[in-house]
Symmetry: C2
Subunit: 206 residues, 2 copies
């Protein structure tokens, strides 16, 4: 048991250490840092969390986090609405957006099918994906889920559902990371990178 | 630049990543975690920080963080008020309290003398320490500052000031950590642990 000389301090440390990956010592360090900041900064910190929790909305179309009913990606006229990239969560959207190399839209599933965790297709945004494909003239669906058994299951489930609609279904390339050494790659990745080899000319255009 | 689809999300991530040691990715993970928690929990989180920042007080006597004018340590009748341990900051108090082996009072300096950072004796709670020693019938002052040049300077400064009062001045023992192997200890620590060796009988009583 930790000994805090102040109930206020203890509450704040408890709050921080309830976050994933933050222990009591780190929490204390963060709280004492905030304590030294101007009051307005602490207010901004607290307000931004409460506002986010209260006012955040999810895009009606792609279920990405948003401030308005239709997110700025779905709402953009410069993006290719016929191309939809299916991802597990919001973090994946941010990761792909940060590459600045994808010009289509997204569809955030909100997880993957995982019977062990009690997550079935109906718990995810799959029905809305099927509707979108039918209604929005989508030509290609890119599956960008994780390469776990659950990811594969989800991929297959979606593929079966979409396949009837005649839309093209692709998955993102798996292979050796740029800059990585072959000898340290795992066998599955290495095998995948060989069987999915691309034309040399195409690798130049990146 | 990171691409967030929501201003609210961006504000919350910015708030978290302003904390020391928290990068954008960790901040995003923490914010998305909070977003999944019940609203009351996020409110508790935010409130505890604001309350701490607004209502926290520092003990009139030892300058430890406190909810009341005289902290519960200084106010305790079961503690030895003739023994004062001088520490740099609140974290040190918590660390020593966690050992449950110290029954005296504390004095939090709020830093150490560091000319390079523009911190002189007058920026620290040294004057109040001298007053305390004179007024409160203190018999022993334990210096528990860090073993840096700044720590040594501060120790010496306090020692010179206190020495006139005739109070006993000690420093905490420096030596090999319990469980550590001799061969990996640095020379200064090892030398210190030899020159400050204790009677074997005394080591048993711990």
């Amino acid at each position: 048991m930790e000994h805090y000389s102040s109930k206020l301090l203890k509450d704040a440390v408890d709050a921080f250490s309830s976050l994933p990956g933050i222990g009591k010592k780190t929490a204390l360090r963060l709280v004492l840092h905030l304590l030294k900041q101007p009051r307005e900064e602490v207010d901004f910190f607290a307000d931004s969390l409460q506002k986010l929790r209260r006012e955040v909305v999810y895009c009606d179309k792609c279920h990405n986090i948003s401030d308005v009913a239709l997110c700025h990606i779905c709402n953009s006229s410069s993006r290719d609405a016929s191309l939809v990239c299916v991802v597990e969560n919001i973090r994946d959207v941010i990761a792909i957006e940060n590459t600045s190399k994808f010009n289509g839209l997204y569809h955030v599933l909100g997880g993957i099918i995982s019977p062990i965790d009690g997550i079935g297709p109906d718990d995810l945004n799959i029905a809305s994906l099927i509707n979108r494909i039918k209604e929005d003239n989508v030509k290609e669906v890119i599956l960008a889920l994780s390469t776990t058994i659950e990811g594969d299951t989800t991929n297959f489930y979606i593929f079966k559902k979409i396949n009837m609609t005649g839309v093209k279904v692709t998955t993102i390339a798996r292979g050796i990371s740029v800059g990585d050494e072959l000898e340290y790659a795992d066998e599955v990745t290495l095998a995948r990178s060989i069987s999915n080899r691309t034309l040399y000319e195409n690798s130049l255009s990146k």
